[in-house]
Amino acid sequence: MIGEEVQIFGFGSFFRDLKTYNDIDLLLLHRDLSPCSRQFAIACKRGLGGSGLKLHITMLSSPEEKSLGFIESSRAKKIHTIRRDEIDEGIQRLLKIIKDRTEQKLTAATK
């Protein structure tokens, strides 16, 4: 489905204004509980695997997130969107966002 997308949220120590962090927590928020939406989220997660980054990935559909209040309780912030028709580019852009932030944190830690 062309219109499918996954919204990426960052949460945890990496995305707060802290110099140190244990891992990089991401929430992949997908549209709904349909098999198509679920499989797209899994495809995005797999695409992010092997990046060499210490990623912890949580996947939730929008209705599940709404039920759990996960974004609010984890203070997650939206950092990116990956669309089905540009999944590879979307993943690469997300990894660049994370790598840039890693460098900023490294710089801040050495000051």
Binding site: D25, L33, R38, K45, T58, L60, S67, L68, F70
Partner: protein, 134 residues
């Protein structure tokens, strides 16, 4: 939130399932707890078919994670959430219930094991939530 294992299948950060194993061995309806692999168990019950159970320790257990479990270890009868900070959505539980699969916290699973149709167990709060939707 405490750290958890980053690799599939989001097992305990400490690889420790003793709490779950101890609770199962104490349960009057469970006669054998067999560890198939880390986080993956077969429970033999005093009545009814054996149960294949997956233990999850993660931030939240959703439908996509469930799909990953099935792809990796095959069908399960129940998923048990083994951490205080991990949750699941009621709609997802109801979705799994339609396939005779139960999604539980450990406390819920302990209660569910007393039922013949264990996958249908709802906590008092979940019953209230469903009632409110009507």
């Amino acid at each position: 939130m405490a750290a958890h294992n980053s690799e599939y299948p989001w097992l305990s950060y400490y690889g420790n399932y003793r709490f779950f194993e101890d609770r199962m061995r104490e349960h009057s309806k469970v006669t054998l707890v067999e560890r198939l692999e880390t986080g993956h168990y077969r429970l033999v019950r005093s009545s009814g078919p054996d149960l294949v159970v997956f233990i999850c320790e993660c931030y939240s257990f959703g439908a996509s994670e469930y799909d990953e479990v099935i792809e990796n270890i095959g069908p399960v009868n129940a998923v048990v959430i083994s951490s205080n900070w991990c949750g699941y959505a009621l709609d997802f539980k109801m979705d799994c219930m339609n396939s005779d699969v139960g999604i539980f916290t450990i406390g819920e699973f302990m209660a569910a094991l007393n039922l013949k149709d264990f996958w249908t167990y709802l906590s008092p709060q979940q019953k209230k939530d469903l009632e409110r939707r009507k």
